[in-house]
Symmetry: C2
Subunit: 259 residues, 2 copies
């Protein structure tokens, strides 16, 4: 069992760094966060830095139809294998960075609060029993979607396009290690009003199973993120509104749709 | 107009490098291939190195239904905007690297010969008139597909999964700059037999238009690749068979499905 730690990435006076959040301070580390990082001994005031997305995924594998409650509502059978699309590195933003409306797109922009699984160790064809050891920790995800793009073409569902716009992959505030998330809940607030509040226990495929199954589809690399899919209660974001995704033990991720 | 050059990446005695192919030799460069690389003055014998994929894309944006001939055959209208899925960095291989059958998958594996557009300069919301300047060059792509996975679920077309398996993004042998590809043809041979032979002039959206339109969907970064979609003649690959994608002026990319 890993120690419970909150890893953050940040910019301090123009310099990119990372470390472990301890109350209002960050214990700085150097090296590779996923490969025996070393404490520098420096303590940095949280209020003096800008937090970034806590990792820089080479890919975000994002699930569709992974919660029983939403599947029931949509009238969809639970899948036999994770159904996913891919969000590219260019869409990732961190806590408090604004979500930007795509140039030329006037349609609906939707929030989806989700659990993010951060890979810690290269995972290829990993058995279920070994999968948990490949998870570094967990974070909050807002899988933002340009809803009107998704079914714009009658011939081709545009999952990747609708979800890959710059700033549509909100991640953070920290990667929390050593936390048992089985009993956790995902709560999403829109301008403070509770819009999603669902238990992770309702997941069709849980994190270790996802890591194992997805590792047969592609090699998962350290820093890659699996967005575990959302449940009921998603809705659209107006310009200037704040979306806050909170997960028990993982803190809160807030992003405003730029006015 | 850029000078006509063939850029390759290679490993020589365990060391990663890159340069310009000149007949049977490579003029080595150092630095960033996309940002004023410098000639080292060294000439390396081509036969002494192993060629890699000529770049290392952060994302491959791969098109569906971008050739009139294939659209007609499938009975699909030409799209108004590029229809695409994303292939992740983990699927990329170079010339002569074997394509690997995914563990546990016994179904059909299909080749798709395509033109690859390599981005040379960060592209966000780029007007059509400015788009060509963001293209570094062109290369050959084999967009390998696990055909039976694509429609395995009645609810969700699995484009990303079917096309993201490790080794399913074949790229190379070189990035050719300064070439007018309007009159070029894509030829795909399976164990020497011609299976695809189509003109790039039949593209629904040509490279500059693709770069412009896609740059409104996501920021394209140097080294990112747009796979322009395939046309008629795709087919399945048997274990041990070689697929050779050749494009006029761009050379040939050969990959064997591992026996």
């Amino acid at each position: 069992m890993k120690e419970l730690q909150q890893w953050v990435r940040f910019v301090e006076a123009g310099r990119l760094s990372f470390g472990i959040l301890e109350g209002e301070r960050i214990a700085e580390f150097s090296g590779d966060i996923f490969d025996q990082p070393r404490a520098t001994g420096r303590l940095v005031e949280l209020r003096a830095v800008t937090l970034l997305a806590p990792c820089s995924p080479g890919k975000m594998v994002a699930l569709w139809n992974n919660f029983h409650a939403l599947g029931l509502k949509l009238g969809k059978e639970p899948p036999q294998h994770p159904l996913f699309f891919i969000k590219p590195p260019s869409c990732i933003i961190g806590p408090d960075e604004p979500i930007q409306r795509p140039t030329g797109y006037a349609g609906k922009i939707v929030f989806e609060g989700e659990l993010g699984v951060v890979i810690g160790r290269r995972a290829k064809d990993v058995a279920l029993a070994d999968a948990a050891a490949h998870i570094f920790g967990y974070t909050c995800v807002n899988d933002v979607t340009a809803a009107d793009v998704l079914n714009e073409s009658p011939d081709f569902a545009q999952w990747c396009r609708a979800k890959s716009y710059d700033t549509f992959g909100c991640l953070g505030p920290a990667i929390v290690t050593g936390l048992d998330i089985d009993a956790a809940r995902v709560s999403t607030r829109l301008d403070g009003a509770l819009r999603q509040d669902y238990p992770l226990a309702d997941m069709i495929m849980a994190p270790a199973e996802l890591v194992s199954l997805l590792s047969f589809d592609m090699t998962l690399m350290p820093g890659d993120v699996i967005a575990c899919g959302t449940s009921v209660g998603v809705g659209s974001i107006k310009a200037g509104s704040a979306v806050e995704v909170s997960i028990t033990g993982l803190g809160s991720l807030t992003n405003v749709l730029a006015p």
